[in-house]
Protein backbone atom coordinates (compact mmCIF):
# COMPACT_ATOMS: atom_id res chain seq x y z
CA UNK A 1 0.00 0.00 0.00
CA UNK A 2 1.43 3.39 -0.96
CA UNK A 3 1.88 5.97 1.74
CA UNK A 4 -0.81 8.24 0.31
CA UNK A 5 -3.32 5.42 0.23
CA UNK A 6 -2.48 4.64 3.84
CA UNK A 7 -3.00 8.26 4.77
CA UNK A 8 -6.44 8.41 3.15
CA UNK A 9 -7.52 5.10 4.65
CA UNK A 10 -6.35 6.26 8.05
CA UNK A 11 -8.35 9.49 7.66
CA UNK A 12 -11.53 7.56 6.91
CA UNK A 13 -11.12 5.28 9.89
CA UNK A 14 -10.36 8.21 12.13
CA UNK A 15 -13.47 10.08 10.92
CA UNK A 16 -15.55 7.02 11.67
CA UNK A 17 -14.21 6.64 15.20
CA UNK A 18 -14.55 10.31 16.02
CA UNK A 19 -18.11 10.43 14.71
CA UNK A 20 -19.10 7.41 16.72
CA UNK A 21 -17.72 9.01 19.87
CA UNK A 22 -15.00 6.46 20.51
CA UNK A 23 -12.18 8.07 22.36
CA UNK A 24 -9.72 5.21 22.18
CA UNK A 25 -8.13 5.44 18.77
CA UNK A 26 -6.92 1.91 18.46
CA UNK A 27 -6.32 1.78 14.77
CA UNK A 28 -3.08 1.05 13.09
CA UNK A 29 -0.99 4.19 12.88
CA UNK A 30 0.77 4.68 9.54
CA UNK A 31 4.49 4.10 10.29
CA UNK A 32 5.37 7.62 9.27
CA UNK A 33 3.68 8.93 12.42
CA UNK A 34 4.84 8.68 16.00
CA UNK A 35 2.92 9.28 19.21
CA UNK A 36 3.44 13.05 19.02
CA UNK A 37 1.97 13.18 15.53
CA UNK A 38 -1.02 11.15 16.62
CA UNK A 39 -1.67 13.40 19.61
CA UNK A 40 -1.34 16.43 17.37
CA UNK A 41 -3.84 15.04 14.88
CA UNK A 42 -6.37 13.94 17.48
CA UNK A 43 -6.21 17.18 19.42
CA UNK A 44 -6.79 19.15 16.22
CA UNK A 45 -9.88 17.12 15.49
CA UNK A 46 -11.41 16.98 18.97
CA UNK A 47 -10.42 20.08 20.93
CA UNK A 48 -13.12 22.72 20.95
CA UNK A 49 -10.83 25.72 20.49
CA UNK A 50 -8.96 24.08 17.60
CA UNK A 51 -12.14 22.89 15.91
CA UNK A 52 -13.65 26.35 16.19
CA UNK A 53 -10.56 28.01 14.84
CA UNK A 54 -10.50 25.70 11.84
CA UNK A 55 -14.17 26.24 11.22
CA UNK A 56 -13.76 30.00 11.37
CA UNK A 57 -11.01 29.87 8.77
CA UNK A 58 -12.95 27.42 6.65
CA UNK A 59 -16.12 29.51 6.70
CA UNK A 60 -14.21 32.62 5.74
CA UNK A 61 -13.32 31.09 2.36
CA UNK A 62 -15.55 32.37 -0.41
CA UNK A 63 -16.11 29.36 -2.66
CA UNK A 64 -18.02 31.26 -5.30
CA UNK A 65 -15.31 33.87 -5.64
CA UNK A 66 -12.74 31.09 -5.87
CA UNK A 67 -14.68 29.28 -8.51
CA UNK A 68 -15.22 32.44 -10.52
CA UNK A 69 -11.51 32.99 -10.67
CA UNK A 70 -10.79 29.42 -11.71
CA UNK A 71 -13.61 29.44 -14.23
CA UNK A 72 -12.30 32.58 -15.87
CA UNK A 73 -9.04 30.81 -16.46
CA UNK A 74 -10.21 27.43 -17.61
CA UNK A 75 -13.20 28.15 -19.82
CA UNK A 76 -12.23 30.38 -22.64
CA UNK A 77 -15.19 30.07 -24.97
CA UNK A 78 -18.07 32.27 -23.98
CA UNK A 79 -20.83 29.75 -24.47
CA UNK A 80 -19.32 27.16 -22.24
CA UNK A 81 -18.30 29.69 -19.71
CA UNK A 82 -21.82 31.03 -19.28
CA UNK A 83 -23.24 27.59 -19.00
CA UNK A 84 -20.80 26.59 -16.35
CA UNK A 85 -21.20 29.72 -14.40
CA UNK A 86 -24.83 28.87 -13.81
CA UNK A 87 -24.33 25.24 -13.16
CA UNK A 88 -21.56 25.59 -10.67
CA UNK A 89 -22.70 28.75 -8.97
CA UNK A 90 -26.00 27.00 -8.49
CA UNK A 91 -24.54 24.02 -6.81
CA UNK A 92 -22.13 25.90 -4.63
CA UNK A 93 -24.56 28.46 -3.31
CA UNK A 94 -26.18 25.84 -1.17
CA UNK A 95 -28.78 27.99 0.45
CA UNK A 96 -29.83 30.08 -2.48
CA UNK A 97 -30.30 27.48 -5.13
CA UNK A 98 -30.68 23.91 -6.16
CA UNK A 99 -27.73 21.63 -6.03
CA UNK A 100 -27.19 20.57 -9.58
CA UNK A 101 -25.89 17.11 -10.15
CA UNK A 102 -26.26 16.68 -13.86
CA UNK A 103 -24.64 18.60 -16.64
CA UNK A 104 -24.81 16.26 -19.53
CA UNK A 105 -27.31 18.07 -21.68
CA UNK A 106 -26.71 21.21 -23.64
CA UNK A 107 -28.26 24.42 -22.42
CA UNK A 108 -30.88 26.09 -24.58
CA UNK A 109 -31.26 29.74 -25.54
CA UNK A 110 -32.87 32.13 -23.10
CA UNK A 111 -36.34 31.21 -21.92
CA UNK A 112 -39.33 33.27 -22.90
CA UNK A 113 -40.59 35.61 -20.25
CA UNK A 114 -43.66 37.41 -21.46
CA UNK A 115 -44.73 39.55 -18.58
CA UNK A 116 -43.23 38.78 -15.26
CA UNK A 117 -45.28 40.20 -12.44
CA UNK A 118 -44.59 37.30 -10.15
CA UNK A 119 -43.86 38.44 -6.65
CA UNK A 120 -42.05 36.71 -3.85
CA UNK A 121 -44.41 35.76 -1.01
CA UNK A 122 -44.62 37.99 2.06
CA UNK A 123 -46.11 38.15 5.55
CA UNK A 124 -49.81 38.72 5.02
CA UNK A 125 -53.13 37.41 6.31
CA UNK A 126 -56.77 38.25 6.89
CA UNK A 127 -58.13 38.21 10.42
CA UNK A 128 -61.84 37.52 10.84
CA UNK A 129 -63.26 38.52 14.21
CA UNK A 130 -66.21 36.93 16.04
CA UNK A 131 -68.63 39.53 14.66
CA UNK A 132 -67.55 38.86 11.08
CA UNK A 133 -65.37 41.94 10.69
CA UNK A 134 -62.34 41.28 8.53
CA UNK A 135 -59.00 42.99 8.93
CA UNK A 136 -56.22 42.79 6.35
CA UNK A 137 -52.84 42.31 7.97
CA UNK A 138 -49.77 43.28 5.96
CA UNK A 139 -46.38 44.71 6.68
CA UNK A 140 -46.47 48.28 7.85
CA UNK A 141 -50.13 48.18 8.94
CA UNK A 142 -50.73 47.78 12.64
CA UNK A 143 -53.93 46.69 14.34
CA UNK A 144 -54.91 46.78 17.99
CA UNK A 145 -58.04 45.79 19.88
CA UNK A 146 -58.70 45.03 23.51
CA UNK A 147 -57.30 41.52 23.41
CA UNK A 148 -55.04 41.36 20.38
CA UNK A 149 -52.50 43.40 18.50
CA UNK A 150 -50.54 43.11 15.30
CA UNK A 151 -47.68 44.99 13.69
CA UNK A 152 -48.68 43.62 10.30
CA UNK A 153 -46.13 40.81 10.45
CA UNK A 154 -47.47 38.84 13.40
CA UNK A 155 -50.58 38.60 15.53
CA UNK A 156 -50.30 38.41 19.31
CA UNK A 157 -53.24 37.64 21.62
CA UNK A 158 -53.14 38.82 25.19
CA UNK A 159 -52.86 36.24 27.91
CA UNK A 160 -56.45 36.08 29.18
CA UNK A 161 -58.57 33.03 30.01
CA UNK A 162 -62.33 32.79 30.37
CA UNK A 163 -64.24 31.00 33.09
CA UNK A 164 -67.00 28.45 32.48
CA UNK A 165 -69.86 30.90 32.34
CA UNK A 166 -68.41 32.93 29.52
CA UNK A 167 -69.01 32.21 25.88
CA UNK A 168 -66.14 31.17 23.67
CA UNK A 169 -65.61 33.38 20.63
CA UNK A 170 -63.87 32.17 17.51
CA UNK A 171 -61.53 34.13 15.28
CA UNK A 172 -60.17 33.02 11.91
CA UNK A 173 -56.81 33.74 10.40
CA UNK A 174 -56.66 33.20 6.65
CA UNK A 175 -53.37 33.18 4.75
CA UNK A 176 -53.63 33.69 0.99
CA UNK A 177 -51.40 32.15 -1.64
CA UNK A 178 -48.15 34.05 -1.60
CA UNK A 179 -48.46 34.69 2.13
CA UNK A 180 -47.30 33.39 5.50
CA UNK A 181 -48.01 34.55 9.04
CA UNK A 182 -47.16 34.04 12.68
CA UNK A 183 -49.72 34.06 15.45
CA UNK A 184 -49.44 33.72 19.20
CA UNK A 185 -52.67 32.51 20.80
CA UNK A 186 -53.97 33.69 24.15
CA UNK A 187 -52.42 30.66 25.90
CA UNK A 188 -48.99 31.62 24.43
CA UNK A 189 -49.05 28.76 21.93
CA UNK A 190 -47.15 29.80 18.81
CA UNK A 191 -48.36 28.93 15.33
CA UNK A 192 -46.57 29.55 12.03
CA UNK A 193 -48.94 29.42 9.08
CA UNK A 194 -47.86 28.64 5.55
CA UNK A 195 -49.42 29.96 2.30
CA UNK A 196 -53.05 29.10 1.54
CA UNK A 197 -53.99 28.12 5.07
CA UNK A 198 -56.76 28.88 7.54
CA UNK A 199 -56.78 28.55 11.30
CA UNK A 200 -59.86 28.73 13.53
CA UNK A 201 -59.23 29.38 17.21
CA UNK A 202 -60.95 30.86 20.26
CA UNK A 203 -59.85 34.42 21.00
CA UNK A 204 -59.64 33.20 24.59
CA UNK A 205 -59.63 29.66 25.93
CA UNK A 206 -61.91 28.50 28.75
CA UNK A 207 -60.01 27.52 31.84
CA UNK A 208 -60.53 23.85 32.72
CA UNK A 209 -61.41 22.75 29.18
CA UNK A 210 -59.33 21.28 26.39
CA UNK A 211 -57.81 24.03 24.28
CA UNK A 212 -59.15 23.19 20.83
CA UNK A 213 -58.19 24.85 17.55
CA UNK A 214 -58.85 23.84 13.95
CA UNK A 215 -56.57 23.97 10.93
CA UNK A 216 -59.35 24.26 8.36
CA UNK A 217 -56.86 23.77 5.55
CA UNK A 218 -53.23 24.36 4.70
CA UNK A 219 -50.05 23.91 6.65
CA UNK A 220 -49.03 25.03 10.12
CA UNK A 221 -46.24 24.52 12.59
CA UNK A 222 -47.30 24.46 16.24
CA UNK A 223 -45.27 25.16 19.34
CA UNK A 224 -47.79 24.39 22.05
CA UNK A 225 -47.62 25.99 25.46
CA UNK A 226 -47.46 23.03 27.87
CA UNK A 227 -50.52 21.85 29.82
CA UNK A 228 -48.79 22.36 33.10
CA UNK A 229 -48.76 26.09 32.48
CA UNK A 230 -52.55 25.96 32.10
CA UNK A 231 -53.68 23.93 35.09
CA UNK A 232 -53.40 20.76 33.05
CA UNK A 233 -55.69 21.85 30.20
CA UNK A 234 -54.95 19.62 27.21
CA UNK A 235 -54.46 20.92 23.67
CA UNK A 236 -56.05 19.59 20.52
CA UNK A 237 -55.74 20.41 16.83
CA UNK A 238 -58.49 19.30 14.48
CA UNK A 239 -57.71 19.03 10.79
CA UNK A 240 -59.76 17.30 8.13
CA UNK A 241 -61.28 14.37 10.04
CA UNK A 242 -58.13 13.95 12.07
CA UNK A 243 -57.51 15.07 15.63
CA UNK A 244 -54.11 15.60 17.15
CA UNK A 245 -54.06 15.45 20.92
CA UNK A 246 -51.03 17.23 22.14
CA UNK A 247 -49.13 15.85 25.05
CA UNK A 248 -46.39 18.47 24.61
CA UNK A 249 -44.58 20.80 22.30
CA UNK A 250 -43.71 21.03 18.60
CA UNK A 251 -45.19 19.59 15.43
CA UNK A 252 -46.23 20.37 11.88
CA UNK A 253 -49.53 19.60 10.17
CA UNK A 254 -49.89 19.70 6.41
CA UNK A 255 -53.48 19.37 5.26
CA UNK A 256 -54.13 21.04 1.93
CA UNK A 257 -57.54 20.88 0.30
CA UNK A 258 -56.13 19.68 -2.99
CA UNK A 259 -53.98 16.94 -1.48
CA UNK A 260 -55.20 13.50 -0.46
CA UNK A 261 -52.98 13.16 2.56
CA UNK A 262 -52.79 14.85 5.93
CA UNK A 263 -49.22 14.78 7.19
CA UNK A 264 -48.53 15.28 10.88
CA UNK A 265 -44.85 15.52 11.74
CA UNK A 266 -43.57 15.53 15.30
CA UNK A 267 -40.45 17.54 16.03
CA UNK A 268 -40.37 17.43 19.80
CA UNK A 269 -42.44 15.96 22.62
CA UNK A 270 -45.35 13.63 22.06
CA UNK A 271 -48.69 13.74 20.25
CA UNK A 272 -51.51 11.27 19.68
CA UNK A 273 -53.23 11.29 16.31
CA UNK A 274 -56.83 10.11 16.21
CA UNK A 275 -58.90 9.60 13.09
CA UNK A 276 -62.21 8.74 14.71
CA UNK A 277 -62.95 5.13 15.45
CA UNK A 278 -59.41 3.84 15.60
CA UNK A 279 -57.09 3.85 18.57
CA UNK A 280 -54.70 6.70 19.09
CA UNK A 281 -51.58 6.67 16.97
CA UNK A 282 -48.73 7.96 19.10
CA UNK A 283 -45.86 9.74 17.45
CA UNK A 284 -42.25 9.96 18.58
CA UNK A 285 -40.00 12.81 17.44
CA UNK A 286 -38.86 12.43 13.80
CA UNK A 287 -41.98 10.46 12.96
CA UNK A 288 -44.85 11.42 10.72
CA UNK A 289 -48.37 10.08 10.32
CA UNK A 290 -49.71 9.91 6.79
CA UNK A 291 -53.50 9.97 6.84
CA UNK A 292 -55.21 9.12 3.59
CA UNK A 293 -58.37 11.24 3.47
CA UNK A 294 -60.01 8.92 0.94
CA UNK A 295 -59.23 5.45 2.23
CA UNK A 296 -59.16 6.72 5.84
CA UNK A 297 -56.01 4.75 6.43
CA UNK A 298 -53.19 6.01 8.57
CA UNK A 299 -49.54 4.98 8.65
CA UNK A 300 -46.42 6.11 10.46
CA UNK A 301 -43.10 6.88 8.82
CA UNK A 302 -39.70 8.04 9.97
CA UNK A 303 -38.82 11.37 8.40
CA UNK A 304 -36.22 14.09 8.43
CA UNK A 305 -38.06 16.83 10.31
CA UNK A 306 -35.72 19.53 9.07
CA UNK A 307 -36.97 18.85 5.55
CA UNK A 308 -40.62 18.87 6.63
CA UNK A 309 -40.40 22.09 8.61
CA UNK A 310 -37.84 24.11 6.62
CA UNK A 311 -40.60 26.40 5.25
CA UNK A 312 -40.94 27.97 8.69
CA UNK A 313 -37.31 29.07 8.56
CA UNK A 314 -37.50 30.74 5.18
CA UNK A 315 -36.33 27.76 3.17
CA UNK A 316 -37.81 25.07 1.01
CA UNK A 317 -35.79 21.90 1.31
CA UNK A 318 -36.42 18.95 -0.96
CA UNK A 319 -34.89 15.53 -0.99
CA UNK A 320 -35.66 13.34 -3.97
CA UNK A 321 -38.92 15.19 -4.56
CA UNK A 322 -40.68 14.90 -7.90
CA UNK A 323 -40.68 18.15 -9.85
CA UNK A 324 -44.45 18.27 -9.71
CA UNK A 325 -44.48 18.31 -5.89
CA UNK A 326 -41.86 21.03 -5.93
CA UNK A 327 -43.96 23.08 -8.34
CA UNK A 328 -46.99 22.72 -6.05
CA UNK A 329 -45.00 24.17 -3.16
CA UNK A 330 -43.66 26.98 -5.35
CA UNK A 331 -47.13 27.74 -6.75
CA UNK A 332 -48.44 28.44 -3.25
CA UNK A 333 -45.60 30.72 -2.28
CA UNK A 334 -45.35 32.65 -5.55
CA UNK A 335 -49.08 32.53 -6.18
CA UNK A 336 -48.77 31.08 -9.65
CA UNK A 337 -50.24 28.23 -11.63
CA UNK A 338 -48.17 25.78 -13.59
CA UNK A 339 -48.51 23.15 -16.25
CA UNK A 340 -46.29 20.47 -17.74
CA UNK A 341 -46.26 20.08 -21.51
CA UNK A 342 -44.45 16.81 -21.14
CA UNK A 343 -45.96 14.74 -18.33
CA UNK A 344 -42.79 12.67 -17.99
CA UNK A 345 -41.07 15.69 -16.47
CA UNK A 346 -43.41 15.68 -13.48
CA UNK A 347 -41.70 12.68 -11.97
CA UNK A 348 -38.07 13.80 -12.23
CA UNK A 349 -36.64 13.98 -8.75
CA UNK A 350 -34.60 16.84 -7.36
CA UNK A 351 -32.66 17.42 -4.19
CA UNK A 352 -31.83 20.88 -2.99
CA UNK A 353 -32.53 23.89 -0.85
CA UNK A 354 -34.31 27.02 -2.00
CA UNK A 355 -34.41 30.33 -0.25
CA UNK A 356 -37.94 31.71 -0.02
CA UNK A 357 -36.56 35.20 -0.71
CA UNK A 358 -35.33 34.10 -4.14
CA UNK A 359 -36.95 35.24 -7.38
CA UNK A 360 -38.97 32.48 -9.00
CA UNK A 361 -37.15 33.03 -12.25
CA UNK A 362 -33.76 32.25 -10.79
CA UNK A 363 -35.12 29.00 -9.39
CA UNK A 364 -36.55 28.01 -12.74
CA UNK A 365 -33.38 28.91 -14.55
CA UNK A 366 -31.41 26.70 -12.16
CA UNK A 367 -33.77 23.81 -12.77
CA UNK A 368 -33.49 24.38 -16.49
CA UNK A 369 -29.73 24.32 -16.28
CA UNK A 370 -29.78 20.77 -15.03
CA UNK A 371 -30.72 19.88 -18.57
CA UNK A 372 -33.74 17.90 -17.47
CA UNK A 373 -36.28 20.40 -18.64
CA UNK A 374 -35.86 21.99 -22.03
CA UNK A 375 -37.44 25.29 -21.28
CA UNK A 376 -40.04 27.17 -19.31
CA UNK A 377 -42.34 30.00 -20.18
CA UNK A 378 -43.64 32.56 -17.72
CA UNK A 379 -46.78 34.37 -18.78
CA UNK A 380 -48.67 36.61 -16.34
CA UNK A 381 -49.21 34.13 -13.56
CA UNK A 382 -48.66 30.77 -15.21
CA UNK A 383 -45.51 28.76 -15.68
CA UNK A 384 -45.38 26.35 -18.56
CA UNK A 385 -42.72 23.68 -18.28
CA UNK A 386 -41.54 22.13 -21.53
Amino acid sequence: MSISKKIFTYSKKLANLILSGKNSFEIELPEIFDKTDKDYIVSNLTETSKINKRKEKHDAIDKIEGWNHIEKNIFRTKRRSLYWKYAVAASIAVVTSFSIFYFNKKSNPTSVVVKNNILIGTDKATLTLEDGTTIALTKGKSFTSKNVNSNGEKLIYKNITLNHQEEVKYNYLTIPRGGQFFIQLSDSTKVWLNSESQLKYPSQFISGETRTITLNYGEAYFEVSPSKAHNGDAFKVISSSQEVNVLGTQFNIKSYKDENFVLTTLVEGKVAVNIGNKDNQYLEPNQQTVFNKISKEISVENVDVTLETSWRKGLFRFKNKPLKDIMVVLSRWYNIDFSFQNKDLEAIKFTGTLNKKQQLESILSNIKNTGFINDYKISTDTIDIK
Partner: protein, 182 residues
Protein backbone atom coordinates in the same frame (compact mmCIF):
# COMPACT_ATOMS: atom_id res chain seq x y z
CA UNK B 1 3.98 11.41 -12.76
CA UNK B 2 5.44 12.96 -15.86
CA UNK B 3 5.34 9.87 -18.03
CA UNK B 4 2.30 10.04 -20.23
CA UNK B 5 -1.20 11.38 -20.10
CA UNK B 6 -3.32 8.52 -18.92
CA UNK B 7 -6.17 10.02 -17.08
CA UNK B 8 -8.18 13.22 -17.14
CA UNK B 9 -10.92 14.26 -14.73
CA UNK B 10 -14.39 14.81 -16.16
CA UNK B 11 -15.97 18.20 -15.59
CA UNK B 12 -18.34 16.67 -13.10
CA UNK B 13 -15.54 15.09 -11.12
CA UNK B 14 -13.53 18.27 -11.28
CA UNK B 15 -16.39 20.31 -9.93
CA UNK B 16 -17.08 17.80 -7.17
CA UNK B 17 -13.45 17.89 -6.19
CA UNK B 18 -13.57 21.67 -6.05
CA UNK B 19 -16.69 21.65 -3.92
CA UNK B 20 -15.43 19.11 -1.44
CA UNK B 21 -11.81 20.26 -1.16
CA UNK B 22 -11.37 23.90 -2.15
CA UNK B 23 -12.11 25.59 1.17
CA UNK B 24 -10.31 22.90 3.17
CA UNK B 25 -7.25 23.14 0.94
CA UNK B 26 -7.15 26.89 1.51
CA UNK B 27 -7.06 26.23 5.25
CA UNK B 28 -4.42 23.55 4.67
CA UNK B 29 -2.31 25.95 2.64
CA UNK B 30 -2.80 28.50 5.40
CA UNK B 31 -1.04 26.22 7.90
CA UNK B 32 2.16 26.71 5.90
CA UNK B 33 1.72 30.33 4.92
CA UNK B 34 0.35 32.91 7.31
CA UNK B 35 -1.18 35.08 4.60
CA UNK B 36 -4.64 33.73 3.84
CA UNK B 37 -4.93 35.58 0.51
CA UNK B 38 -1.77 33.99 -0.83
CA UNK B 39 -2.89 30.61 0.53
CA UNK B 40 -6.03 30.97 -1.55
CA UNK B 41 -4.15 32.07 -4.67
CA UNK B 42 -1.98 28.99 -4.45
CA UNK B 43 -4.96 26.63 -4.24
CA UNK B 44 -6.65 28.33 -7.17
CA UNK B 45 -3.52 28.10 -9.23
CA UNK B 46 -3.22 24.37 -8.56
CA UNK B 47 -6.85 23.79 -9.48
CA UNK B 48 -6.39 25.65 -12.76
CA UNK B 49 -3.28 23.61 -13.49
CA UNK B 50 -5.14 20.37 -12.94
CA UNK B 51 -7.86 21.28 -15.38
CA UNK B 52 -5.54 22.56 -18.04
CA UNK B 53 -3.96 19.15 -17.74
CA UNK B 54 -0.47 20.41 -17.69
CA UNK B 55 -0.36 17.68 -15.10
CA UNK B 56 -1.09 14.15 -16.16
CA UNK B 57 -2.13 11.45 -13.80
CA UNK B 58 -1.48 7.77 -13.71
CA UNK B 59 -4.90 7.17 -12.30
CA UNK B 60 -7.77 9.00 -10.68
CA UNK B 61 -6.42 8.04 -7.31
CA UNK B 62 -3.38 10.20 -7.65
CA UNK B 63 -5.42 13.37 -8.19
CA UNK B 64 -6.08 13.97 -4.53
CA UNK B 65 -2.54 13.16 -3.45
CA UNK B 66 -1.35 15.50 -6.14
CA UNK B 67 -3.55 18.31 -4.85
CA UNK B 68 -2.13 18.15 -1.35
CA UNK B 69 1.45 17.71 -2.51
CA UNK B 70 1.27 20.50 -5.06
CA UNK B 71 -0.30 22.95 -2.64
CA UNK B 72 2.32 22.19 -0.04
CA UNK B 73 5.24 22.47 -2.49
CA UNK B 74 3.96 25.72 -3.85
CA UNK B 75 3.52 27.04 -0.33
CA UNK B 76 7.07 26.08 0.62
CA UNK B 77 8.41 27.65 -2.57
CA UNK B 78 6.66 30.84 -1.67
CA UNK B 79 8.10 30.77 1.86
CA UNK B 80 11.62 30.27 0.56
CA UNK B 81 11.38 33.06 -1.94
CA UNK B 82 9.88 35.41 0.63
CA UNK B 83 12.83 34.72 2.91
CA UNK B 84 15.17 35.73 0.13
CA UNK B 85 13.21 38.87 -0.35
CA UNK B 86 13.22 39.28 3.39
CA UNK B 87 9.57 40.17 3.38
CA UNK B 88 8.82 37.56 5.95
CA UNK B 89 10.67 36.61 9.06
CA UNK B 90 10.38 32.86 8.83
CA UNK B 91 13.51 31.25 10.19
CA UNK B 92 15.15 28.57 8.11
CA UNK B 93 14.67 25.97 10.82
CA UNK B 94 10.94 26.39 10.72
CA UNK B 95 10.95 25.82 6.97
CA UNK B 96 13.02 22.70 7.40
CA UNK B 97 10.48 21.56 9.96
CA UNK B 98 7.60 22.33 7.60
CA UNK B 99 9.35 20.38 4.88
CA UNK B 100 9.35 17.10 6.80
CA UNK B 101 7.07 14.43 5.47
CA UNK B 102 5.27 13.74 8.74
CA UNK B 103 4.38 17.40 9.27
CA UNK B 104 2.89 17.47 5.79
CA UNK B 105 1.05 14.17 6.15
CA UNK B 106 -0.49 14.94 9.50
CA UNK B 107 -2.00 18.11 8.04
CA UNK B 108 -3.35 15.97 5.20
CA UNK B 109 -4.96 13.63 7.73
CA UNK B 110 -6.51 16.51 9.66
CA UNK B 111 -7.87 18.07 6.46
CA UNK B 112 -9.24 14.84 5.02
CA UNK B 113 -10.79 13.70 8.29
CA UNK B 114 -12.45 17.08 8.83
CA UNK B 115 -13.93 16.96 5.32
CA UNK B 116 -15.43 13.53 5.96
CA UNK B 117 -16.76 14.49 9.39
CA UNK B 118 -18.30 17.69 8.12
CA UNK B 119 -19.93 15.98 5.18
CA UNK B 120 -21.38 13.32 7.47
CA UNK B 121 -22.71 15.82 10.02
CA UNK B 122 -24.34 17.86 7.27
CA UNK B 123 -26.57 14.93 6.47
CA UNK B 124 -27.98 14.81 10.00
CA UNK B 125 -31.09 16.57 11.28
CA UNK B 126 -30.34 19.76 13.20
CA UNK B 127 -30.66 18.38 16.70
CA UNK B 128 -28.66 15.22 16.00
CA UNK B 129 -25.95 17.32 14.37
CA UNK B 130 -25.72 19.60 17.38
CA UNK B 131 -25.31 16.64 19.69
CA UNK B 132 -22.71 14.91 17.53
CA UNK B 133 -20.72 18.13 17.24
CA UNK B 134 -20.51 18.28 21.02
CA UNK B 135 -19.77 14.59 21.29
CA UNK B 136 -16.82 15.06 18.93
CA UNK B 137 -15.52 17.70 21.27
CA UNK B 138 -15.53 14.94 23.89
CA UNK B 139 -18.49 16.24 25.86
CA UNK B 140 -20.08 13.55 28.03
CA UNK B 141 -23.77 12.80 27.61
CA UNK B 142 -24.46 14.70 30.81
CA UNK B 143 -22.50 17.71 29.58
CA UNK B 144 -24.33 17.66 26.25
CA UNK B 145 -27.68 17.42 28.04
CA UNK B 146 -26.79 20.37 30.20
CA UNK B 147 -25.48 22.62 27.45
CA UNK B 148 -28.52 22.00 25.23
CA UNK B 149 -30.92 21.90 28.20
CA UNK B 150 -32.39 18.54 27.25
CA UNK B 151 -32.52 15.26 29.15
CA UNK B 152 -29.73 12.68 29.08
CA UNK B 153 -32.19 10.21 27.63
CA UNK B 154 -32.89 12.56 24.73
CA UNK B 155 -29.15 12.83 24.14
CA UNK B 156 -28.84 9.05 24.09
CA UNK B 157 -31.85 8.63 21.83
CA UNK B 158 -30.62 11.31 19.41
CA UNK B 159 -27.16 9.75 19.35
CA UNK B 160 -28.67 6.43 18.46
CA UNK B 161 -30.55 8.06 15.59
CA UNK B 162 -27.37 9.79 14.48
CA UNK B 163 -25.29 6.61 14.43
CA UNK B 164 -27.95 4.76 12.56
CA UNK B 165 -28.10 7.51 9.96
CA UNK B 166 -24.34 7.92 9.71
CA UNK B 167 -23.64 4.31 8.87
CA UNK B 168 -25.02 4.41 5.33
CA UNK B 169 -23.81 7.98 4.84
CA UNK B 170 -20.22 7.09 5.62
CA UNK B 171 -20.50 4.04 3.45
CA UNK B 172 -21.90 6.14 0.62
CA UNK B 173 -19.18 8.68 1.15
CA UNK B 174 -16.48 6.08 0.78
CA UNK B 175 -18.03 4.77 -2.37
CA UNK B 176 -18.17 8.29 -3.73
CA UNK B 177 -14.52 8.87 -2.97
CA UNK B 178 -13.59 5.54 -4.45
CA UNK B 179 -15.55 6.20 -7.60
CA UNK B 180 -13.71 9.44 -8.11
CA UNK B 181 -10.26 8.49 -7.05
CA UNK B 182 -9.82 4.79 -7.58
Amino acid sequence: MEKKKKYKLSLKEYKKLFESHYASLCVFSNTFIKDSEISKDIVQEIFIKIWENKISFNSKKTVKSFLFTAVRNKALDYLKSSIHKKTESHAFESIINLETESVFLREVVITETSIIIEHAINTLPEKCAEIIKLSIKEYSNAAIAESLSISINTVKAQKKIAYKRLRPVLKEYFILIISIFD
